[in-house]
Symmetry: C2
Subunit: 304 residues, 2 copies
């Protein structure tokens, strides 16, 4: 799967993933009101509006980017209708040829992680039949439980040619509380990075492994260290844009081959029309504003 | 919410939570076949069987135990129908007066954790209306992202009188890979424990906080250390039974007041009829076997 991602990054010349993390406050009134008219002010109405909003943005950017990253929490908060919208979003994006990174940050003891891996990347057996529950291409995974919590994801990835990105150094302000603490003279995130190398060693597909890492754009110095420490690991980089990361912060995340990192932007793209810079597009042209934001992000990364 | 849990533990004289983590292989053929006849060998059929199985077990044990802990991964693996069965299970258990601990192990950056907290413990606003998406009473939370990943859960707990259990030392074999590593001379799990104290200090309800911790029964020595280190923190203890923890391993998890811990058993109770010890009940009396297993567990903890 990492080869497919790299191929699409190269073809579209954009190491960019669009974070589909919609909030109701980002959705134009015209869409929201129509959904509320049809379903009432209900979770079903919210889910309908979210799906319509996502589809319009995907239609406007799918030729520019290789991948999208729906954050499942934004859907889960609307209960079952929200999760149906998540699933429909995954399917719609795959139908447009996009690679889908499910930002699910799951992780549990072995037998339970196996169920999560099956849910998001694998197939579930029911009697004599098999089904793909959510069918993302990649998923994000939390490493706190150690190898037996991550290994079931690695195994499903091998079986189904899928991939994961393991949280190594997250983009949030308090990520350092545990992740930066020194163990044998090195921060915890370095020890997690070493494990990611180990977990992914047997999952190579070309120059890179199907087992990747998450490192926040908000910590470029650590990005440099981690880039060197995990030479064959693709890095998913959140935190660009709304969280504070800029184009010049991104250089350290890439290898000399120009590969090795894919940068996520969520709010900065999907809610671009609410940003002063793109306000001229107006609410009705929100999707075109998103397209302009992707093109600007592409430039920003190139010039960074 | 912790006061409600303690009251029920005392009334039922059982610091026991039943883990509702069904696998299809645990479900009696009679139930499974009936669901498959109605829905086919589909996720809907699996979900129907799971819900019927859960209800029968809950009917057989609800007068004996204060709480249940459905593991959401076991439902999520069947996609949307599975998650509907999760929600229906939560509702059914609450209808029987049981406290529901959603074993969800979520955790993300601040704004995203807020959505998870709303999804599982809070209310979501849609237009002028509010809804409770999954409506558990407690949820389990992963601490790897630090304070800003946990705080939104704490805030929702305060607002809605709910609670969480933060992963401190998990029950799985490789939990030590990161959790046991020494930082300033003490294992990471001790540093996480200190944060749990801090996060919960402002959420006291009587002697205990609504912010609890998860510590595995498989590590009784660490349980002793963590019990002392978090005197006002309730400990959810997984790993008893099928994972290897025994009655005598549990003593260190309790305070002198006999409170402070609640022990989970999943497979050992819900699949009791498949265990040599309860095989005399037969498949058709699976729920009675579960009831016998709960009563035996109660004794085992008392004599431990």
């Amino acid at each position: 799967m990492i080869e497919r991602l790299i191929k699409q990054i190269q073809e579209k010349d954009a190491p960019i993933v669009v974070g589909l993390d919609p909030k109701l406050s980002m959705i134009p009134k015209s869409i929201l009101n129509k959904s509320f008219e049809e379903y009432g002010e209900t979770p079903e109405g919210a889910a309908d509006a979210i799906l319509k909003f996502n589809k319009a943005i995907v239609d406007a950017v799918y030729d520019l980017v290789p991948a999208v990253k729906p954050q499942i929490a934004m859907y889960e908060q609307f209960g079952i209708p929200g999760l149906i919208a998540f699933k429909d979003t995954v399917d719609y994006c795959k139908g447009k040829g996009l690679i889908v990174i499910g930002d699910i940050k799951r992780g549990d003891i072995g037998s339970t992680s196996e169920s999560y891996a099956v849910a998001h990347l694998g197939k579930i057996k029911v009697g004599s039949k098999e089904y793909e529950p959510f069918a993302e291409d990649f998923a994000t995974v939390n490493p706190y439980l150690g190898t037996d919590g991550v290994k079931p994801f690695v195994d499903v990835c091998k079986k189904e040619d899928k991939g994961i990105f393991v949280l190594v150094k997250t983009s949030n302000p308090s990520s350092g509380e545990f992740q930066d603490r020194l163990i044998d003279g090195e921060p915890l995130y370095c020890h997690v990075a070493d494990k990611v190398n180990e977990w992914g060693a047997d999952s190579m597909a070309g120059e890179y492994s199907n087992i990747g890492a998450v490192v926040g754009a908000t910590y470029p110095e650590m990005g440099r260290v981690l880039r060197e420490r995990m030479p064959h690991v693709y890095i998913l980089v959140p935190g660009y844009g709304a969280q504070g990361g800029t184009g010049k912060d991104l250089k350290p995340f890439f290898n000399k081959d120009g590969l090795g990192a894919i940068i996520n932007s969520s709010r900065g793209i999907i809610a671009a029309y609410q940003n002063e810079k793109y306000i001229k597009y107006g609410e009705e042209n929100f999707a075109e504003a998103s397209r302009a934001a992707v093109m600007d992000m592409k430039e920003d990364i190139k010039n960074g």
